[in-house]
Structure formats: structure tokens, C-alpha cells
């Protein structure tokens, strides 16, 4: 089982969600986050002084999928989220040790 974490532009959330659903992936967790990579922030004015805001709003999606679903999930995210500009985001993949369904104690891949 693999965990896929994707940090995205907030405006791409709906498109990515839809693309994942189309790829047959239904479970996900969505978090509001702030951050930046190489993307510069924006400047704001307060009382005549300029200052830079470099913690930008982001959205983070977390999914846990079976190993065979990894590439289709990644492709779904990329195709929906890519604009070609700096700020598109990143995807990280890590291994998951265990998954448990709280409702009925199911474990392993059938809990996903």
C-alpha cells in the first residue's frame, strides 16, 4: 500500500478530485495548507509600506492506494493539476505499513 501526498494550487482541487474519481479512486483526505517552493509570494501594502507575503495558500490531498493503482493515481493528479507554471505543486509517495477500517476491523488492502 502506498500513500500519495500532493500539494496543489487551491484552484485545482476540484479538477484533481474529479480526475481521481474517474480513475476509480474514491477515498481521500483534503487539508488546507500554506507554503511555497520556488514560487515567490505577493506584495501587500500596509500604511504605505510594502511587505512580502510568502506563505501562500495551498491544498494538500492524501490518498492511500494499492500498489497497482499508483501510476494511474499519479497520472490523474498531474493531468488535472499541471499548468506548466511555477507553483503547480509536488507529489510525494511513501510506503504505508498498515491500514485498518474502524467500522469492522478489516485490515490490509481490503480496508482501502
Amino acid at each position: 500500500m502506498l500513500k500519495i501526498e500532493a500539494v496543489l494550487q487551491p484552484s485545482k482541487l476540484d479538477a484533481v478530485k474529479d480526475a481521481l474519481l474517474e480513475a476509480g479512486i474514491e477515498g481521500m483526505t483534503i487539508l488546507e495548507a500554506r507554503g511555497h517552493g520556488r514560487q515567490k509570494g505577493h506584495t501587500e501594502f500596509y500604511r504605505g509600506r510594502e511587505y512580502t507575503v510568502d506563505l501562500l495558500p495551498k491544498v494538500k490531498i492524501e490518498l492511500v492506494v494499492t500498489d497497482d493503482r499508483k501510476e494511474s493515481a499519479i497520472q490523474a493528479i498531474i493531468s488535472a493539476a499541471r499548468t506548466g507554471r511555477i507553483g503547480d505543486g509536488k507529489i510525494f509517495v511513501s510506503r504505508i505499513e498498515e491500514a485498518i477500517r474502524i467500522r469492522n476491523d478489516e485490515r490490509g488492502e481490503s480496508a482501502l
Binding site: 501587500e44 501594502f45 500596509y46 500604511r47 504605505g48 509600506r49 510594502e50 511587505y51 507575503v53
Partner: protein
Amino acid sequence: MRCDCKPLFFSAVFVLPVAAQAQTSTPLPPTQAQFAALQQAVQNAQSNADNAWMLVSAALVLLMTGPGLALFYGGLVRRKNILATMMQSFAMMGLVTILWAVAGYSLAFGHGNAFIGGFEHLFLRGVGLAPNPDYAATIPEQTYMVYQLMFAIITPALITGAFAERMKFSAMAVFLSLWSLLVYSPMAHMVWGVGGLLNANAGHIPSLDFAGGTVVHITSGVSALITALYLGKRIGYPHTAMPPHSMVLSFIGACLLWVGWFGFNAGSALGSGPLATSAFVNTHFAAAAAALGWTVAEWIHNGKPTALGAISGAVAGLVAITPASGFVQPFSALLIGAIAGVFCSFMVFEVKSRLGYDDSLDAFGVHGAGGTIGALLTGLFATSAINAAFGKGMPTGAMDGHWGQVLNQAAGIGVSWVLSIVGTLVLLFVVDKIIGLRVSTEDEHEGLDLSQHGEEGYDLNS
């Protein structure tokens, strides 16, 4: 020959039946008693009209503090301090009311000497529903007292802008209570009280302050500066950006201030007649011109017009027109507003950052500076065509040729600056020694809502 026959026709309809009746009983001239009763009825009608406007004005001025100022200041601070900031204004609504009823009104408007009133109205003794002809001959003295109370409430509340985000609630309550009795009441007495040093009627240095440019705005603004300097900067200022957490709240607050100011200025006519109209029009014109002035200045200076600049400009204009509102012509008001908008923006953009003091919410830049320039411009633009303040036929301001009035205004400004500086320094020192003024570093980091009040302004998780 064409005649305007309609009025003739209508009066005939009414006159003919009366004329017909008159042939049966001769109408008598009104008796002395009836005439006196008629005169009283007319007087009552005038009084009731004045009282109605004055009560509405008092309510409008209170609205300026709660929620006007509470929202305006509240939106400008960081989220962790919103409740504490609003509490400071609200606390004045409670505290100053008690102090005013007990002693404040008496010290401001009782008979005393040139600098302070007396104790004849302690606990509002003698302040009933009959008018006090020294101040307002057509309204109950309690109306006058409660109207003035609203001014006494907002003045210390304005000072809270300078020490936002770092003063202890307890210390603030004690400091501002003492300030209200020992700085505000004397200043009010000097400018508006019978026998006051700066009273336009018979004072030693007659100064023109229609609604409180010196009494309210210079005292609060200058005291704010002293407090900001005494307390020191907020932790992290100026390197850390501390932008407003909610310009939305500030915007709403500023608009409430603008509307409430009609009570502040037009109510200072103490009646519902044409002088109130003058003050109303001037107030509005100055606010609009100043908002534009600040906006244009900022657009040129920074490249973008900000909402904060626009609303600050409007407030600056309202401050500047306050002493002038019942003395100048509408286009003078426009000019006063425009000048104040540009001048106050300069004070905030350039002077504040160059000198480096942390007047968190620009109480000095807007109220202190705006009040000062407004009081000076009053001397320039006041005209007996609007208000023959020094007597019928006497010139009022420089526009009438009375250039000496500008000097009188300067003297009044000087007195308010000195009283504010000395009074505030002494009180800050005393309260600091007894209670301690500033919150601890941890409390300042945690935020005053939690550290001073055990509350959070917004619970975004519930």
C-alpha cells in the same frame, strides 16, 4: 390680466364659512393668558424639536464608540487581540459613564475657574429636566449632560489605538479613568465651560472649537503619542509585518464613524435649526474630500489606492472638520477635508516611519495631526456669514479679516498639547509604578484575548 386664481379660490373656500359665522359672533382678540399660552406652546415646540435632534445626536455619538471605533480598531489589530481591543472601547462606555455622572460633568461644566469646573453638580446634583441657559437654553440639562457624556466616552477610547496589543486591561482602565477626570474634563471646561480660558464667548483667549477638535482629537491624539512612546514598540515592530486581520471590520467601523459623526458635529449646534444643517453638510463634505485626498496621495506614493487609506482619509477629514463644522462654508469644508487627507497621510507614511514610534493604529497621525491642522484651518476659514460666534456684526475668522483668530487657535492648540503631554506623562508614570502598564512578553505573544480575558475572538473550529 392673468391672475393666480388657485390660491384665491382655495382661500375663498375656507374664508367664506368663517366670514359667514363671524356675522353671528364677533371674534375677540386673544387675552393675555391665551397669548402667553400660545407663546409657551411655540417655545415648547422649538424645545421639543431641539431635544429630539439632540437625543438622536447623543445616540449617534455613542454609536461612534460602540461599535464604530470598536470595529475600526478591532479590524486593524492581529486576530489574537481583537476582543481585547473591542473591550477597551466598551470598557469606556461603562467606566466613563459612571465617572461622568459622579464628577466628570461637574468638573467640565460646573462653575469654577478658568481651568476647571467645580463640584456643584457632583452626582449630577441640580442637573434636571429644566434647561441650563449657560449652555443650551432650549433643551433639558440632562440632554446636554448625556450628549456631552458621549464625547467624554469616545475621547479616551481613541487613545487605545496607540497602545493596542500591548497594554494590560487593568492598567488601561485605571489610566483612562484618571485621564478622563484630570485631562478631558479640564480641557472641556477650558473650551466649553462657563468661564473657561479658551471659551469662545468670554474666555481670555477665545478659541473656536465647534465640536471638539482640541477637546477630543488633539488631547486624545497627543496623549496617544505620549503613551506609544512611553510604552515602547510592540515586539517585532517594525520588522515583522502586522497587517490588519480584518479590513472588513475596519471598513464597517469607519462607515459607522462617518454616519455617527453627524451627531458629533451637527449635534454640537445644540439645536435643530440651520446651524445644525451647516455642520451636517460640512461634516459630510470634509469626509468625502479627505477620503479622496488620502487615496490620491497614496495612489501616487505607492502605486495602488488601498481601502485602509481611503477609510483613514475619511476619518482624518472628519477629525479636521470637527472644530470648524459650525463656522465655515461648504466649500471651505471641502478644502479643509482635502488638506487633512493629504496631510495626515503624510504624517502616517513618512513621519511615523522616519521617527519610528509605534502608534499602532495611527491615533496620533489621524486624530492628533488632523485635530491640530483642523483647529488652525478653523481660524482661517471661520466666517460670521455662517456663525457670528463673537457677536452680531463682529468678524469671526481670517475670512472675515480677523487674522488674530488664527493666533487664538494656535494658543488653544498649544494649551491642549501641553495639558495632554504633561497630564498623560504623569498619569502613565503613576499607574506604571502602582500596577504596571505593559503585558508580559509571553502574554503579548499569546495575545491579549487569551492572556487578559481568557477568551478567543473567533473559534474557527466550533
